[in-house]
Point group: C2
Chain length 192, copies 2
DNA sequence: CTCGTTCTTTAACGACCATTCCACAACCGA
DNA sequence: TCGGTTGTGGAATGGTCGTTAAAGAACGAG
């Protein structure tokens, strides 16, 4: 009975993700979103009820693609060290990629800009972080079973440690060069 | 001959630091700065010529106090592991302190909000990071001389690794609990 | 074809943005 | 005490902010 939407909501959401990712939450205006999505202001506000709501959905959408990427890289063939190295070096390459225009990681950006300010967004960020932490944890637990890492190591602690290193790379990536980041990756791997 | 300023510029700068620290650059308005510093708009713009310039000076002022704090903690008595633990646990306590209203670290916040956007600010952030990295490096180099850590270890790599862990804690601190952060600290210390 | 519903477009809203200007106050050297 | 210079406080700037209102277009069900 009603008129159907004239656009693909997922495509629009991806455009919003790209905008927030590049500029941050506060620095993104409604006009930026209108320009980037191609929708009219009315359609935008009719579909997503506010800038804040749109950001929350963008964070969810971002998690779908980014956390899945980490999960896939972690279950690829190789030793635990090789697989973790691939994930961390993927971050290094992303940070060094000029065409990525210093976007970093949307979840990390949101954590620092809005962590503790907006509860729902903080919860979204936490969900994102925990999903990646759990992916690391599963692999460390299996690696310990397989004897790849010491029996005395705590897989949960290692997962959190690796997560911290990963996000530390995101921070240092804003100012450091590739060699410095690579040293961090190698020192992290050696710690297992 | 001219009329002298009726305020202490350093006090005003500290007030500005507190404002940017708590709210971020984009989310801080000129009105916020007027309210917090107690100056009139005219005096503010007469002393610091723009919001951006004031932020740059705030970043410098922040480095004075925060980097000095790390340097002092690192030269206090104790083994290298004890001293680094104190620095990292200081970050953990800061992140968990409710009264700190989730400010985090101004340099890290600036890195993620403005890194790669404004060149001068990026340079200011880099200066801040390198100063802390160098403080770590000096201690690791001395500790290797003293036989506290293996002769085969690279002090520069260890310094960068520790820096990444420290900033990783700043990110995870927005969502994780004290126990998780403490696990990260201990795992980091064990890696030396 | 018509009706009911939803989508789309555009104009407009009041609030607030960073910044500038200006009249006036305060100080110092003479 | 007075002149020169700078600091001060606040009104005013044009522009942009996030959001809403309103009017018409497009669709599916009957």
């Amino acid at each position: 009975m009603p008129r159907p939407k004239g656009f693909d909501p997922t495509e629009v959401l991806d455009a919003a993700v790209g905008t927030f990712w590049q500029k941050g939450y506060a620095a993104t205006s409604a006009q930026d979103l209108v320009d980037r999505t191609g929708l009219g202001r009315g359609s935008l506000y009719n579909t997503f009820s506010s800038k804040q709501q749109l950001f929350k959905e963008s964070l969810r959408r971002y998690e779908e693609t980014s956390a899945t990427r980490v999960e896939e890289m972690l279950v690829a063939p190789g030793t635990i060290r090789e697989r973790v190295r691939r994930v961390l070096m993927d971050v290094v390459h992303d940070e060094m990629d000029a065409s990525a225009t210093h976007r970093g990681c949307l979840a990390v950006n949101a954590a620092l800009e809005l962590g503790g300010v907006d509860d729902e967004i903080t919860a979204g960020v936490r969900h994102n972080f925990e999903r990646v932490e759990n992916a690391f944890h599963a692999e460390f637990a299996a690696a310990r079973q397989a004897g790849e890492i010491g029996a005395g190591r705590d897989p949960r602690a290692l997962a959190r440690f690796t997560l911290a290193a990963m996000y530390g790379l995101r921070v240092l990536g804003k100012t450091a060069d590739r060699q410095a980041l690579t040293q961090v990756v190698e020192t992290t791997i050696e710690a297992f």
